[in-house]
């Protein structure tokens, strides 16, 4: 029974199924029950489960995260939702000092089954405060699980696993994935947390990627295939805990590594992948790995600059060619007025 669903619909369905099955699950966040329903990801839920389980809240991210944590300690399974990852910056004490450590620092007596969904914005001038992907931060904090789905199939399966997990899970959703479709089975299924996925099999170069970078890697791979270059893509769906086996196996085979990440480079997650590979399978590496990330500056709003801010599949293509010692083709000619600030030209938001 194959059925196509959008990423956003998959998210919605995952929550719907869990809400239906388990009365301790509830969803809380600014606007989760309004007409826009978190870009549609909570659509129809308030009608079905009522405003107590699909709960709007004051603009009090810090305390509300504490409230969610307190409820998780006492029998509930909250799903907190932030329309932008940045809004969770207000709640870092509750997330990092409290939720991440509660289980450990009380010797395993209590646990925090809580999911915090955070949307990473991009395009249409989201700018410096509506676009940051700080997944590296969360991955750095012991006690948090950090998940970045790239496909609708994974979005549903990983979100169900996250909701059922007894730990705080940071679930990071890239806005440009929301309308992408995939085969998504009906009913409950789980994609396990902490498992990387070989998304594409290949022999020449390994690309490790997460979230939207995975899509760009796929696009690059399609290009490269035309020239007979074979790419293996490892989708690092959970960046903590990290399942390194498929990655290491792949590099053993290809000897070449590119890490494509949606965040900044400096002290970021891409460096972790490079380090792991270097520490574990150094002798297999034929060339130094390459990181493809954002440049280390804040996000500008004008598309004239953001056009040059976000890496393109062509950057991955160039990196692959470099690793293979092939002549890099000339970069595509991007103009400031080009409309690279939308996932596709007809896209009209909401952003």
């Amino acid at each position: 029974m194959s059925r196509e669903l959008k990423f956003v619909e998959a998210l919605q369905e995952a929550q719907d199924l869990c809400l239906e099955r388990d009365p301790s699950v509830y969803v809380m966040g600014l606007g989760v029950s309004d007409g826009a329903a978190m870009f549609g990801s909570t659509k129809g839920l308030v009608e079905k489960y009522g405003p107590k389980r699909i709960l709007d809240m004051p603009v009090s991210e810090n305390a509300m995260t504490g409230v969610a944590l307190g409820s998780a300690l006492t029998g509930m399974r909250p799903i907190m939702v932030h329309l932008r990852l940045e809004f969770a910056m207000l709640a870092m004490d509750q997330i990092v000092n409290q939720a991440a450590k509660w289980h450990y620092m009380f010797g395993g007596q209590a646990s925090v089954p809580m999911v915090i969904r955070m949307v990473v914005g991009r395009g249409w001038g989201q700018g410096a405060q509506h676009s940051q992907s700080l997944h590296s931060w969360f991955a750095h904090v012991p006690g948090l699980k950090v998940v970045l789905p790239a496909t609708a199939y994974d979005a549903k399966g990983l979100l169900i696993s996250a909701i059922e997990d007894n730990n705080p899970v940071i679930f990071i959703e890239h806005r440009w994935l929301y309308n992408m479709t995939d085969k998504v089975p009906k009913g409950m299924y789980r994609v396990p947390l902490g498992k990387s996925n070989v998304l594409l099999k290949g022999n020449d170069v390994t690309i490790a990627a997460s979230s939207y970078a995975t899509i760009e890697a796929l696009n690059a791979a399609k290009e490269l295939e035309k020239e007979g270059i074979s790419i293996e893509i490892i989708d690092i769906r959970t960046i903590n805990p990290l399942d390194e086996e498929p990655l290491l196996e792949s590099v053993k085979k290809t000897g070449r590594l590119i890490v494509a990440d949606i965040g900044w480079k400096h002290a970021g997650f891409a460096g972790e992948i490079v380090s792991r590979v270097v520490e574990k399978v150094y002798q297999y590496l034929k060339e130094p790995p390459i990181r493809i990330t954002l440049p280390d500056v804040p996000t500008p709003t004008t598309r004239a600059l953001s056009n040059f801010y976000y890496p393109l599949p062509s950057d991955i293509v160039s990196a692959v060619k470099k690793l293979l010692g092939k002549a890099a083709e000339s970069k595509p000619d991007i103009k400031p007025e080009d409309f690279l600030d939308v996932p596709y030209l007809e896209f009209r938001g909401p952003f």
């Binding site: 004051p58 603009v59 001038g125 410096a128 804040p298 004008t302 400031p336 600030d341």
Partner: protein, 325 residues
């Protein structure tokens, strides 16, 4: 009626009309998809900005949040630079790096606006605090919405400003909504925002944010109070947002308010009501008003042309301004 100074009445109305016309025009143009940034229009809420800023000296600083066009314009921010900023141009008030949610005009005493709800409240307090540290008294006015009073930053800032009796005026525009969420999901039943500051020993006012004269007068009192060294003041103005939260369209199809609600809300149109009042009082004539409309329309057209014709920033600017020298 501000009988004692009828010129003030006229200026207040004209300035409010100006913002109304600018916002209306920008909302129209937004549909061309050339202004490509999240934009929170001030339509319906223009009067508070005008009534408050009319009391302020150029060097007195204001800060605002995501919905800042009216405040920026009322404080004397450059229209050309604002429109250019919305178009993402190099000539914009933030060189294109900011967009509608990040306006700035230091020449006009507009310290800055950013869209994280509540964040500019302490920053605005800090702007007054620096003068305090230097032994001076410098008014700082902070504009924010009803939802910002739900943030911890608001209370922490209120307390700190009160401890040091800083001359800070907090202007809360209560338009009843946070995006689409009504006050009922964000506040206990029956509470009045303007009562909250009293627990901190902070003076507060509550007024109609659609009545230009009432705004002007309460703001005058509040500002006088703060300037005189008595400490911070909080003013709650009730007003109404005409458009969707973000963007140029209506939002009544989204279920949280009806078209009738909006029609009712618009009855408190600060421009129309005050215009009628001034006409009736014989202070304003129809032809004067039409003249304003013509002048303003020209000013707007000029700003739009300026913005449209301005160059985009160059690629090199992407990496520029990471660090200050």
């Amino acid at each position: 009626m501000l009988e004692y100074k009828k010129e003030i009445s006229l200026v207040l109305l004209r300035d409010t009309l100006r913002i109304r016309m600018i916002e209306s025009r920008l909302a129209e143009l937004y549909a061309e998809y050339e202004m490509r940034c999240p934009t929170h229009f001030s339509l319906g809420q223009e009067a508070v900005a005008v009534g408050v800023c009319h009391h302020l000296k150029k060097q007195e600083l204001i800060t605002s949040a995501h919905r800042s066009h009216a405040h920026y314009l009322a404080k004397g921010g450059s229209l050309k630079k604002m429109v250019a900023e919305l178009y993402g141009k190099k000539t914009g008030c933030a060189t294109g790096k900011g967009g509608s949610m990040h306006l700035i005009d230091l020449d006009a005493g507009f310290l800055g606006a950013v869209p994280i709800v509540g964040s500019t409240i302490p920053i605005g307090v800090g702007a007054s605090f620096s003068a305090y540290l230097q032994g001076e008294n410098k008014l700082s006015v902070i504009f924010f919405g009803d939802a910002a009073t739900e943030t911890g930053a608001f209370y922490e800032s209120l307390n700190f400003a009160a401890i040091h009796k800083l001359p800070v005026v907090m202007i809360c525009e209560n338009n009843l909504y946070s995006v689409m969420s009504p006050l009922s999901v964000r506040r206990p039943e029956g509470i009045k925002l303007s009562n909250i500051p009293q627990g901190f020993g902070v003076q507060s006012f509550h007024a109609d944010g659609s009545d230009l004269e009432e705004i002007y007068q309460t703001a005058g009192q509040a500002i006088e109070y703060a300037r005189s060294g008595k400490g911070p003041v909080f003013v709650e103005y009730i007003n109404y947002r005409w458009l969707e939260h973000c963007g140029p369209l209506s939002d009544t199809h989204l279920g949280f308010r009806t078209e009738e609600d909006v029609i009712n809300g618009k009855k408190k149109d600060p421009v129309r009501n005050y215009k009628d009042k001034l006409l009736k009082a014989g202070i304003l004539t129809d032809s004067e008003f039409s003249k304003w409309e013509k002048e303003i329309a020209e000013e707007i057209q000029e700003a739009i042309s300026f913005a449209k014709e301005s160059p985009f920033p160059e690629k090199e600017q992407l990496l520029e301004h990471l660090f200050a020298a």
